[in-house]
Amino acid sequence: MRTELLTCRGVGKRFGGVVALEHFDLSLGAGELVGIIGPNGAGKSTLLNLIAAVQRPSVGEIELDGVRIDRLPRAQVARLGVGLAHQIPHPFGDMTVAQNLLVASYACRHRVPAPERHVSTVLELCGLADKRNLPARSLQLLDLKRLEVARALAINPRVLLLDEVAAGLTAGEIDEVIEMLQAVHQQGTAMLVVEHVQTVLESLAQRVVVLNWGRKIAEGRPAEIARNPVVVDVYMGSRSARGPRPSVPSPAREEPSPVLRVDEVSVRYGPLRALDRVSCQVGAGEIVAVLGPNGAGKTTLSRAIAGIVPLAGGRIHLGSLDVTGVPAHQRARLGVAIVHEGGRLFREMTVRENLELGGRYRSRGDAMRVALDQVYGLFPRLKDWESRTAATLSGGYQQMLAISRALMAQPKVLILDELSLGLAPQVIEDIYRALERVRELGVGMLLIEQNVHRTLDACDRAYVLERGQVTFVGTPQMALQHPGLRAAYLGSRAAGS
């Protein structure tokens, strides 16, 4: 016999015209661990936000132990015992780890009669005991995630909601997170775990709910779900349908006159060494991959090349020009283009305006027209949507627009940071196909990705970054064999995807 701790009935949420979630029912019993999976945009985060009262449902009811909580303010719902660990950690940066938790325990005094002791217990449980006096802002990603979970636990919740705790972590780090979650579950807390990464739920969940486009499409035990053809369809593999590129016998040798050369570059964030004497280069028409686990410094490298972060050492050359001290906007005008992680379009402007901004400094007059034609040739749908606001495009097309905006500047070097994050496999295919055509234009591309297989299928040469240092340079085939790569990514179990 199960006592229903948390129930959702007919819950739905609209944002303007977009339906994020609809007709959603769920019940969670005391001590249960239920997983929620689904592709990006399925409504998983929305669901957690609704339960935790970060947002209000447009329709439906949510009850905790028979008490309606869907119309209450966030803080009150927290005090009633609903803890939420966000996907992107937001600690109180200036406070220590322990103080972060103390705030929570003090605020929920009625649930936590002995705050200091509870905090110590939680710190132990989450593996942060030895870091209790460090300022939160000095933590690395894995520890930030631990802190996020710990702080939610500090309120002594009845229900713990976890939003993609494993996102951005390597499989090795994911192992540690799974251990932590198992320990938490053993304490008897009911948990609702939203995840993208299969391995987490395989080991933890008793029941899994699958969301797609805001609706529940399946529910059952993890093994059943994994076999369910509908679900499998939704999650396709991440390998290229065509397999690896036919290997052109291009050696892993670096070209003598590359369009981009990075020499012994170091970047510091305060005491933290994000990049340590990293060197790499990209030739015209080359696709170079930069791989590595999260926190390795890949995005820092792209920002350093773009000129957004200052260097603590080393030089960067664009062709024969030394651009080391040159500010970002001037590098852009010299031919460095970047597609940021997440696209970072000007969302309130139209497609056309975004493109024109991209081309403003390098493609004037007729050249603008030529650049636009080129870009529409690569992604024809964009032309249909010229006057639409960028924010109204779907994720895949936003990414295409971001790439197009970068191409409008007729760049010499194009940096693509985490291109495929959150995109459906088919969309990723389309984009990679477009990149082949960009290569033909002679643009050198630096492809920064966590998705190892697809990237290696596409590139000519690969670097592996770990903890701010280059640990490997070579052909894609060599990269796949590189033991260090496997260890960093795959951890103690074979990665699911």
Binding site: A52, V54, P73, R74, A75, Q76, A78, R79, G83, L84, H86, H90, P91, F92, G93, D94, M95, T96, A98, Q99, L102, V103, A104, Y106, A107, C108, P115, R132, N133, L134, P135, S138, R151, A152, A154, I155, G270, P271, L272
Partner: protein, 344 residues
């Protein structure tokens, strides 16, 4: 990894810090207190008492503002309102009733505190700059009202007989008492659980709500306590001036004073307002003949501090003291690890 020193109220001393912050602060506090008491009547000419009074009231007001603006992160521009209400409550009660001084003064603190609570419940739902602007609006609205309110004398204001007010020495002693009280109260609040939650709201109000912190309640309580202290200062000011009128009692200059002193001295430190007040009053005294220049210089210092020493003078002085101490000992003595306590 060397832990960077953070100045935000939590003040975690990291490895490498030699001079324990509490020791230095405590030393300075004791010195300051001794100076204040020693400078008491009998040692200083009457004019010295006036300057001392101005210094003490500045400190008390700035400490109070700093609770809300520094530790609380709510940039209030309403505080001149509380000064005025405190002054007017005292003056009105002395003029229209026979009440003895203690309840008069007490009410002069309680009334602003109540007003702060009522106002706060309304405007502290607003965030950052919206709150600041609303607070400014409220303060100026009330000033506009008081300028026209016949009951309190409109533009002519109120005056009461000098015999009703305590003499200079007593006034000075009251100022000392109030300053000590406000400083101790602020320190106690900041180091308490309430204080930790207050600072959490300052750092990230949404995250604080996410762990159950009662944001509005805490903000309003801090606003109220702050207003209490400022109201009491207003009362003392009225007792010193004997005659008040709305333009000066509710003048935005009070707010300017509090903000400038707190920012110069160091937001989110209790020592900051003391350092800032000493600095400002000194400059004022030195340039007594040239009032406008004194304001100019202070404003320039404000900009310099924001630009070059953003944490304020006190943290700057403390870092300097550390550097000197370390150099004096030639070799850093590794400090013992710190406990999870706050050092504000």
């Amino acid at each position: 990894m060397r832990v960077p020193f953070v100045e935000n109220g939590y003040g975690k001393p990291g490895p490498g810090r030699v001079l324990r912050p509490r020791t230095l602060s405590a030393m300075l506090a004791v010195l300051a207190l001794a100076a204040a008491l020693l400078a008491a009547p009998g040692y200083l000419p009457p004019y010295g008492l006036v300057v001392g009074f101005a210094l003490l009231t500045s400190i008390a007001m700035a400490e109070a503002w700093n609770l809300v603006g520094g530790f609380g992160g709510q940039f209030s521009m309403a505080h001149s309102l509380f000064v005025g209400v405190g002054s007017y409550t005292t003056a009105t009660l002395l003029v229209r009733t026979d009440w003895p001084l203690p309840p008069v003064v007490a009410l002069s603190g309680l009334l602003p505190a109540t007003m702060a609570a009522a106002t706060g419940l309304v405007i502290m739902r607003l965030r950052s700059v919206y709150f600041s602007v609303a607070s400014l609006g409220v303060a100026l609205a009330v000033q506009a009202w008081m300028i026209n309110w016949q009951y309190t004398g409109a533009t002519s204001g109120l005056s009461f007989p000098g015999s009703d007010a305590p003499d200079e020495s007593t006034l000075y002693a009251m100022a000392v008492g109030l300053t000590v009280f406000s400083t101790v109260a602020i320190v106690a609040v900041v180091r308490s659980r309430f204080g930790l939650m207050l600072m959490a709201i300052r750092d990230d109000e949404d995250a604080a709500a996410g762990v159950g912190v009662r944001s509005l309640r805490i903000k309003v309580l801090s606003f109220s306590l702050s207003a209490l202290i400022v109201g009491l200062v207003g009362s003392l000011i009225a007792l010193q001036q004997i005659s008040i009128e709305p333009y000066s009692a509710f003048s935005f200059d009070w707010t300017i004073n509090m903000i400038v002193i707190s920012v110069l001295g160091g937001l989110s430190t209790w020592q900051g307002p003391i350092v800032g007040a000493i600095f400002v009053v000194t400059i004022d005294q030195l340039l007594e003949q040239y009032q406008a220049f004194s304001t100019l210089i202070i404003a320039l210092c404000l900009i310099l501090v924001i630009r070059l020493l953003p944490r304020g003078m006190w943290p700057g002085l403390r870092s300097l003291a550390n550097v000197i101490w370390r150099r004096f000992h030639r070799m850093a003595v590794p400090a013992e690890g710190s406990h999870g306590s706050t050092d504000a």
